[in-house]
Symmetry: C2
């Protein structure tokens, strides 16, 4: 067997030379899906930028592996997506696609026109979707999923400098270039997408005052989840020219 | 009531002055969702570029309307998405999102590594999803959905000139500019995305020989459906700066 096609997720990688026991889902993948054997080499990440080569030391119901080497990968692109609640049933794929597209942080917004349904089950499911996307896309940074906050709270706690946009069918065209007020390596991009009912006028004013540029993502209005994923896809396409970072292979 | 928030779909609009009877789903939307009354003004499209103002003449179980005026809108942006089969259950949202993002044609590809499951029910469902997306995004061009063909057949029947790309994690970065070999108003863009198992070497060779430039859409590998929607989102963002066309309002 060559390296496993998907990257393993091991949040506690330890140091080079240490032996770790894979979590149940990773063990299943290695033993049953890839049919790996003791001695095979696999790759794993801690979701915080480490990419490790592991040698499997035992493969059975439990799987153990020795850490051969760890490489630290620097994040080249930082993007946060703030997002109001979409229509029912459409949030899961926002999470999955943002994770695949390499967004750093998903920040649900509690909006005047729409609330996120509460529920620990949902947060756990989102976490699993983010890990699955990390494995599949072989990324070394796990999407960070935050609890919902209001627009005001999100603005109060945001990092600066950042290039800030708010999705708006009447805004400035996104156009071909990223543009914005700040640029440079690892500049933070923040995009705010309204809920299915749209941002309220007061929320729009606050975003405006905080420097969020109204930005048109398409030549028609988009659903919340489509706008969120479109913005992430556009960031990814524009960032695809940079030297690899935030990913492996 | 102002104009209905969503555009109505009426494939047989007739000429200005004619009276038309809305199809069942449109009638339900007007009468029950919008609670419109006789005399109210609504907007409709035939999905082929016509945007009509209608006056409702009777509203009940059946809904009739008089065509007051018809405007023909020219398509400013043309994009075809060729796509191998994604993993099970992920095709519906490709169709929905391509329709929202204003793609002209969705061409499923029968690939060596993956077949599209047959089924009239699927094609009908895709048609309904495309119409729903047209209404919701207020577009005047309906996504055209074609029966699956092989890569060879798709190449043999393609229009030229066209800017052709094939999604490839090792390809040239999509970067910030559309680029490509042909440009100008209404230049056709064609993007080919491999199935979940990827294009075969032979399929890649054929696409290469036909001028499809390997293009990197993100700094990591993407699932089939993510790559398809990402490319459509990128086309939409790059095209969002053009004067309105292919959409209303």
């Amino acid at each position: 067997m060559a390296a496993t096609p998907s990257l393993l997720y091991a949040p506690d990688l330890g140091a080079s030379g240490s032996v770790l026991r894979l979590a149940r889902e990773e063990a299943h993948y290695v033993a049953r899906v890839c049919r790996a054997r003791a001695g095979d080499i696999v790759e794993a990440t801690d979701g915080r930028g480490a990419l490790a080569r592991l040698r499997l030391t035992s493969v059975g119901a439990a799987v153990s592996a020795e850490v051969l080497a760890i490489e630290r990968i620097e994040r080249k692109r930082r993007a946060w997506l703030w997002c109001g609640a979409p229509e029912r049933g459409r949030a899961d794929w926002i999470v999955e696609k943002l994770a695949e597209l390499g967004v750093e942080r998903f920040q649900p917004l509690e909006c005047e026109n729409a609330s996120w349904p509460a529920g620990a089950a949902r947060i756990e499911r989102w976490g699993r979707l983010a890990v699955a996307a990390l494995r599949q896309s072989r990324r070394v940074f796990l999407l960070e999923i935050r609890p919902p906050v209001t627009v005001e709270e999100a603005i109060a706690s945001m990092e600066r400098p950042a290039v800030c946009r708010v999705g708006d069918p009447d805004g400035h065209p996104a156009g071909a270039r990223p543009g914005g007020r700040v640029s440079g390596p690892a500049a933070l991009e923040i995009g705010a997408i309204g809920p299915s009912g749209g941002f309220s006028p007061r929320e729009r004013e606050r975003l405006n005052a905080a420097g969020f540029v109204p930005t048109r993502l398409a030549d028609a209005r988009l659903r919340t989840e489509t706008a969120a994923v479109s913005l992430a896809a556009w960031w990814a396409a524009v960032g695809a020219g940079k030297s690899p970072g935030g990913e492996s292979s």
